[in-house]
Amino acid sequence: MRRVPWIALVALALGLTVRLAGFLAPWAGLLPGCAFKRVTGVACATCGLTRGTLALGQGQWGAALHWYPALAILAAAAPVAILWDLRRAWRGDPYPPLPDSRGLRVGAWLLLAGIWALQAARGI
């Protein structure tokens, strides 16, 4: 039984959205600043994400990496995920369950906190 490659489809849709967002770069100045940063003086976990997305949409990978490293790394890894998902769907394999590992869970939390800390430390 063939299966639907949901991850691949969502990744492609997101890619298209990011590409379209690139056309909005000239109007980026109209965007409101980060309310969290304005109040606390510290970057929030998403500070730089919009600028990174706009840069990525224009194909400026270096700028995207500067503004939001996690986004650029995710975008670079997306083709691997898409190929894996297409192969899985073609073979009719179901999605594997998320690993029941405390270490991986703690790692995911640390990664999320690390992304935030990185943005805050760089004052993005």
């Binding site: 109209l30 409101p32 994400l49 995911a108 939390w109």
Partner: protein
């Protein structure tokens, strides 16, 4: 003899309301199949969402036309920091809004798609949140999350009905804060369904919805802002 109309309509809503005020008893029955859960969710949520979205769009079109015709409010002038005369000229040059009669047929397509999209979106993020808080140990899989979300969203759709009160003149703005608090409760309500269907306890289910909110705020807000910008600069 047929069921009286008030009972046919009021009965299901009474059941949903009871589930909303007694969430711990709402998910004690064996879970329905995915198809049945989905159909029941759509049957309740799509009509209510159509009413809510229709009113929102109608009001948005009215506000847009009013903005075009009159001077921009002071807060908008201050927020944009633009010259008031230039802003006024710019607003006058905006194209008129489409008539609501031309817009509403599109809602019949967009709203059901939005409902389905919200269901899947919530399931994906809540499932990730459940994993992060260790709520997937029973290994019931993503399908259990989809069923739980459909069951919970069918009940929380009642909030859409209550949210219509926000459109009442004078009374509506006064209800802003109570309706916001209700939104918060309805967000957490999904945790009861997740906890029951994954057998991981209500607190983990609710924690998953909180993680979802935090992740949404920290990972997807940027994209949302971009989409907002698209709306702001769109034709």
């Amino acid at each position: 003899m047929g069921v009286p109309f008030t009972e046919a309509i009021g009965g299901p809503f009474r059941t949903l309301f009871r589930a909303l005020v007694r969430p711990s008893e709402a998910f004690t029955d064996p879970p329905p199949t995915l198809g049945r859960a989905l159909a029941r969710m759509l049957a309740v949520w799509v009509p209510l969402s159509l009413a809510n979205t229709g009113l929102t769009v109608w009001r948005a079109l009215e506000s847009y036309d009013q903005l075009r015709r009159s001077a921009p409010p002071t807060w908008l002038e201050q927020a944009l920091g633009a010259d008031p005369d230039v802003l006024r000229e710019l607003l006058r040059s905006l194209p008129p809004s489409p008539a609501f009669g031309h817009v509403w047929p599109w809602l019949l397509l967009v709203v059901p798609l939005g409902v389905l999209g919200t269901w899947i979106h919530d399931a994906v993020w809540d499932h990730a949140g459940l994993w992060l808080v260790g709520g997937l140990k029973a290994k019931r899989g993503f399908r259990a999350t989809l069923v739980a979300e459909a069951e919970a969203l069918r009940i929380t759709a009642l909030g859409t009905l209550i949210g219509l009160l926000g459109f009442l003149p004078v009374f509506g703005p006064l209800l802003f804060l109570p309706l916001l608090a209700l939104d918060g409760y309805l967000w957490l309500f999904r945790g009861f369904a997740l906890g029951a269907r994954h057998g991981c306890g209500v607190w983990r289910g609710m924690a998953a919805t909180v993680v979802h909110a935090a992740l949404l705020g920290t990972c997807a807000l940027g994209l949302a802002v971009v989409l907002l910008a698209m709306l702001r600069v769109g034709p």
